[in-house]
C-alpha cells in the first residue's frame, strides 16, 4: 500500500521497489554475468555452486533448451545443436558474416531481407533469439537469488557496437522479458566499477579485450563524473580469434584438411585450454581425441605469442589512435585498467604496459568488473545517485550523397545524446522523392561504411534542381540508438523513422517472436504497461499535492473535498494492479481538477502582471533618480 506516502515533490517513488529489482548484465561473447548493487555495493549473483559466470552457450535439444555450463557440456556429443559466441553475429547481415563464417562452428543461412539465421537441429533461429535465451537464464538466476521479480536491467555492450548491434541487443532483452533501462558501454561500466571502488581521479584508459570484441576508451574521472573523451575498437577481435589460430595449427599438425564440425569444436576446446594454461605455464601438451583418432600437440608460450602478436599489435594500434583522438599523449594517462579474460595473457599485459609506459591495473577481476559497473548503473538509474556518466558515440554517422560519397552528420566521439541537422537538396528538376541512406563508419565512400537504413522521403514539391531544402536530423539517444527525421523546409513535409537496421529483425518478426516464443510475453508486456501507468498516476497525484500546497487557499471547502475525493480514488487505484482502473483515474483526476488548474493560471498571470508593473514603475523611478542626479551634477 502506498496510501498517503509523503515524498519530496518530483521524487516519484519507483513502484513496487521492494519486490522488484533492477540488475546489471554483462552479455559477453564467451561468458555472461548478472550483478546487483545495493547502496553502491555491487555483487555478482552466483549459482548454488558459487559460479558467477554463465558460459554464453545455448544447446537446442529435442527435450528443451539448455544454457550455460549444461549446454557447454553437450558441445561434443551434440555439437551440431550447440551455439556459442553468438554475440559476434548480433546485428550482422549475411554479407558481414561471410567474412567470419569460416571461423564459426555452426551453419549460417540467410534469413529474410539479408538477415542471418542459424540452422540448428532442424530449426532456424536468429542471433537475437539465442541471446534472449542467455538473458532469460540470467534473469531467472537473479530472481532466484534476490527472491524478487527482475524486469529491468542495464545491459552492457561493446563501445564499438554499431546501431544495428545495439538494437539487436535491446530486442533480445525484450524477448527475454527485460526492459532495458540503459545500454552502457563495457569500458564505461568497467570505469564506473573501478572509479567508485578505488576512488580514482584523472585520465584513465580502459583496455577491454573480451572473447569476441575489443574496446579501448579514454575517460576523465572527476568528482563522480565519468566523462568519456574518446573510444574505439574492433567489433570482431578477441580471445576467440586466438583460439582459432591455435586450433588451425593443431589441425594442421594432425594433417586435417577438411575437419568435421565435431573435430573443429574439439580442436577449439584444446586451443582454449592451451591458451588459458599458457598464461601461467610456459609449455604443455594437449590432446585432441576426436574423429576416431588421438593426437598430441606440444605448444609453448613463445609459439603462442608469435602466433597472436599481430592481433595484439593491432589492438595497440587502435589504442594509439584513440589516445590521439582524445588529443592526449600516452604519458598523460594516469592509469590503465584491464578488462576481459584475454587480458590475463602476459603478452597483452606486456604490450599494453609498453604503450602507456606503466603497469596496467587489474585488481578487480577482469571477468566481473563490467557486470559490477552495470549493476551500479542499474541502481543509479532506479534509486538515484551522485555519479554522472557522459558517454560518446564510437562511430561517425552520415548520409549517402552523389557518387556514393558519405556526408558526415555526426562525428565519432561526440557526446551523446546528440542531435545534428544537415540540409540537402535535389539534384534533378522536378524531383519529388529522395532516397535517404544512413551509414555508420569512418570511411569516405558509402560501400566501405556500414549501411544502417534506407528510406524514401516523398512529397518534395516539384522545383528546379537545388531549390528544395531538405533538413535531415540525426538523433542518438543516451543508449546510442539512432532516430532519423527528414523535413522539407518549404512545405513542412516531415518523416520520422526509428532506424531499424537493414540487417536486423523486422518489426513483424519481433512481434511474432514475442507472441510465439515467449510464454510470459503477454504478462511481461502487461507488467511494463502497468508500471508506466503507475508512474504516470503517481506523477499526477504528486503534482496535484504540490499544487494544493502552493495554491490550495483559492479553493472553497467543497471544491477541495471534490479534489481530495478524486485523489483518494487515485490512491486506491495505484494500490491495485488494475491498469484500466489507474488509466481511468488518471483521466478523471485530470478532468476534475481542470478548473483548479485554470484558476491557478489566472492568478499566476495576474501576479506576474503586477510584478511587471512594479518592476517597470521601479525602473522608471530609478531612471528619474539617475536623471535627477545627473542634473544635480
Amino acid at each position: 500500500m502506498v496510501l498517503l506516502d509523503i515524498h519530496e515533490p518530483g521524487e516519484t517513488p519507483v513502484p513496487h521497489a521492494a519486490t522488484e529489482a533492477a540488475v546489471g548484465i554483462d552479455l559477453g561473447t564467451t561468458n555472461s554475468l548478472v550483478a546487483y548493487a545495493v547502496d553502491g555495493k555491487p555483487e555478482v549473483l552466483r549459482n548454488i555452486h558459487g559460479e558467477g559466470l554463465v558460459p554464453s552457450v545455448v544447446a537446442y535439444l529435442d527435450d528443451g533448451i539448455l544454457v550455460g555450463y549444461p549446454a557447454k557440456e553437450r558441445q561434443f556429443d551434440a555439437s551440431d545443436r550447440v551455439v556459442s559466441s553468438i554475440k559476434r553475429l548480433m546485428g550482422r547481415g549475411i554479407e558481414d558474416v561471410k567474412k567470419i563464417a569460416g571461423t564459426l562452428p555452426y551453419t549460417i543461412e540467410p534469413g529474410s531481407e539479408g538477415m542471418v539465421r542459424l540452422a540448428i537441429a532442424g530449426r532456424r533461429v536468429s542471433p537475437v533469439e539465442v541471446s534472449a535465451e542467455i538473458l532469460k537464464t540470467l534473469k531467472s538466476r537473479a530472481e532466484k537469488r534476490l527472491e524478487k521479480s527482475v524486469a529491468r536491467a542495464v545491459i552492457t555492450v561493446p563501445a564499438y557496437f554499431d546501431d544495428a548491434a545495439r538494437t539487436a541487443t535491446k530486442d533480445a532483452a525484450r524477448l527475454a522479458g527485460l526492459h532495458v533501462l540503459r545500454l552502457v558501454n563495457e569500458p564505461t561500466a568497467a570505469a564506473l566499477a573501478y572509479g567508485l571502488d578505488k576512488g580514482v581521479e584523472g585520465l584513465y584508459a580502459i583496455y577491454d579485450l573480451g572473447g569476441g570484441t575489443f574496446d579501448v576508451s579514454i575517460l576523465r574521472l572527476e568528482k563522480g563524473v565519468f566523462q568519456v573523451l574518446a573510444t574505439g575498437g574492433h567489433a570482431a577481435l578477441g580471445g576467440d580469434d586466438f583460439d582459432h589460430l591455435i586450433a588451425e595449427r593443431f589441425l594442421a599438425e594432425r594433417g586435417e584438411t577438411k575437419p568435421s564440425l565435431t573435430l573443429v569444436k574439439s580442436a577449439l576446446n584444446a586451443a582454449r585450454t592451451a591458451k588459458e594454461r599458457l598464461s601461467t605455464d610456459h609449455e604443455g601438451r594437449w590432446d585432441i581425441d576426436a574423429a576416431g583418432r588421438l593426437s598430441t600437440h606440444n605448444f609453448d608460450r613463445v609459439a603462442l605469442e608469435t602466433l597472436i602478436e599481430p592481433l595484439i599489435e593491432h589492438t595497440i594500434d587502435i589504442a594509439r589512435h584513440v589516445i590521439e583522438d582524445a588529443k592526449l599523449a600516452a604519458n598523460e594517462i594516469k592509469g590503465v585498467v584491464l578488462v576481459g579474460g584475454a587480458t590475463r595473457m602476459p603478452i597483452v599485459r606486456r604490450m599494453v604496459a609498453g604503450l602507456f609506459g606503466r603497469e596496467p591495473l587489474s585488481d578487480i577481476d577482469p571477468d566481473e568488473v563490467v557486470a559490477l559497473g552495470a549493476a551500479l548503473q542499474a541502481e543509479a538509474l532506479t534509486s538515484g545517485s551522485n555519479t554522472l556518466l557522459l558517454d560518446v558515440t564510437p562511430l561517425s554517422l552520415g548520409l549517402e550523397t552523389m557518387g556514393g560519397v558519405v556526408e558526415r552528420v555526426i562525428e565519432r566521439n561526440t557526446p551523446i545524446p546528440v542531435a545534428h541537422a544537415q540540409e540537402f537538396t535535389t539534384y534533378q528538376d522536378g524531383q519529388t522523392a529522395m532516397l535517404i541512406h544512413v551509414v555508420q563508419g569512418e570511411r569516405e565512400m558509402v560501400d566501405q561504411c556500414r549501411s544502417l537504413a534506407r528510406f524514401v522521403l516523398r512529397g518534395i514539391p516539384s522545383l528546379v534542381a537545388g531549390a528544395a531544402r531538405i533538413k535531415v536530423t540525426f538523433a542518438l539517444d543516451a543508449d546510442g540508438i539512432l532516430t532519423v527525421s527528414a523535413r522539407e523546409e518549404l512545405t513542412g513535409i516531415e518523416q520520422r523513422v526509428e532506424v531499424r537496421p537493414s540487417y536486423g529483425l523486422a518489426p513483424e518478426d519481433m512481434e511474432a517472436m514475442l507472441r510465439s516464443a515467449m510464454e510470459h510475453a503477454r504478462e511481461d508486456v502487461e507488467t511494463r504497461l502497468l508500471t508506466e501507468s503507475r508512474v504516470e498516476g503517481q506523477r499526477g497525484l504528486l503534482a496535484l499535492k504540490s499544487a494544493l500546497r502552493a495554491d490550495g487557499e483559492i479553493l472553497t471547502p467543497i471544491e477541495r473535498r471534490t479534489i481530495e475525493n478524486a485523489m483518494a480514488g487515485m490512491e486506491r487505484a495505484l494500490s491495485s494492479t488494475d491498469r484500466d482502473m489507474i488509466e481511468g483515474w488518471i483521466e478523471k483526476l485530470d478532468a476534475e481538477t481542470l478548473f483548479f488548474a485554470e484558476r491557478r493560471m489566472d492568478r499566476g498571470m495576474k501576479t506576474a502582471l503586477e510584478g511587471l508593473a512594479i518592476e517597470s514603475l521601479e525602473s522608471k523611478l530609478q531612471a528619474a533618480a539617475t536623471t535627477g542626479s545627473a542634473d544635480a551634477r
Binding site: G10, L181, Q227, E324, V535, A550
Partner: protein, 224 residues
C-alpha cells in the same frame, strides 16, 4: 495614449513570461527548468549556447568554468536522472541533455566558439569561401600546402604541424583581443585564418604516423 501602448507591450511580454506547467498545470516561468510548484522538469527554451551553459557571451571562456557548468547542468538534466520518471520528463531530459552537449561541443573548441560568437553578433562566416578570402591569407595557405606536399619524412611534417600549431595559438589570442575590442572585422578575418590552420593541422595529422605530431607538439610545449 502613449501609456496604453506601453501596457499592451507589457501584456505581450507577459504572455511569453508565464506558461502552464505540463504536469501540475499551474503557472511556471517560461525560463524555469523545473516547475516551482511541483518540481516537474520543463522543456528546454530557445537560448544561445552561452546562456544554455550559464556563461557570459565571450570568446575567452575559461575551460574549467565551462566544464564545471556543463557537469553541473548535466547532473541535473541528464536522461540517467530521469530513467524511472514519466515519459514527458524523459523526453524533456533528452532534449535538455542534447542541447547541453551541443553547446558544450561548440564552446569548447576555440574555432567553433569564434564562428558561433560571430553568428550571434550578426557577422556570420557562413558563405565565406576561398574566393572572398584575403590574398595574404590565400598566399599563406598555399605556401603551407606546398611545404606539406614537399615534406618527405615524418619529422618534416611534424615540424610543419608544430609551426602551424604555434601560429594557431597566436591566432586564437588575436581573435580574443578582436572580440574584446569589439572589432568584428578583425575577428572575422582571424577566425577565417584559424579555420585554415585547423584544416591544415588535420591534413598534416593524416600525413604522419600516429603519435609523431603529439610528440613534436608536446616537445614544443615543454620548451615554452
Amino acid at each position: 495614449m502613449n501609456r496604453n501602448v506601453v501596457d499592451d507591450r507589457n501584456v505581450k511580454a507577459l504572455a511569453g513570461a508565464v506558461k502552464a506547467c505540463w504536469s501540475c498545470r499551474g503557472p511556471v516561468d517560461v525560463r524555469a527548468m523545473f516547475c516551482a510548484t511541483c518540481d516537474a522538469l520543463q522543456g528546454p527554451t530557445a537560448v544561445d549556447h552561452f546562456e544554455r551553459l550559464e556563461l557570459s557571451r565571450t570568446f575567452d571562456i575559461d575551460l574549467a568554468d565551462l566544464d564545471r557548468s556543463y557537469f553541473r547542468l548535466q547532473r541535473l538534466l541528464h536522461p540517467d536522472r530521469f530513467a524511472a520518471k514519466s515519459a514527458p520528463e524523459r523526453a524533456h531530459s533528452l532534449a535538455h541533455s542534447t542541447a547541453l552537449n551541443r553547446a558544450y561541443e561548440i564552446l569548447k573548441d576555440p574555432l567553433t566558439c569564434a564562428e558561433y560568437l560571430l553568428t550571434c553578433l550578426g557577422a556570420p562566416l557562413a558563405g565565406e569561401d576561398k574566393t572572398t578570402a584575403d590574398p595574404v591569407l590565400l598566399g599563406e595557405a598555399l605556401e603551407r600546402r606546398e611545404a606539406l606536399a614537399d615534406a618527405t619524412d615524418a619529422l618534416a611534417v611534424a615540424a610543419l604541424a608544430a609551426a602551424a600549431e604555434r601560429d594557431a595559438e597566436v591566432c586564437r589570442a588575436t581573435i580574443g583581443r578582436a572580440f574584446t575590442g569589439n572589432d568584428l572585422k578583425a575577428a572575422r578575418a582571424h577566425t577565417l585564418r584559424l579555420r585554415y590552420l585547423a584544416k591544415f593541422l588535420d591534413d598534416a595529422r593524416v600525413r604522419q604516423p600516429r603519435g609523431a605530431a603529439r610528440r613534436a607538439a608536446s616537445a614544443h610545449g615543454a620548451t615554452t
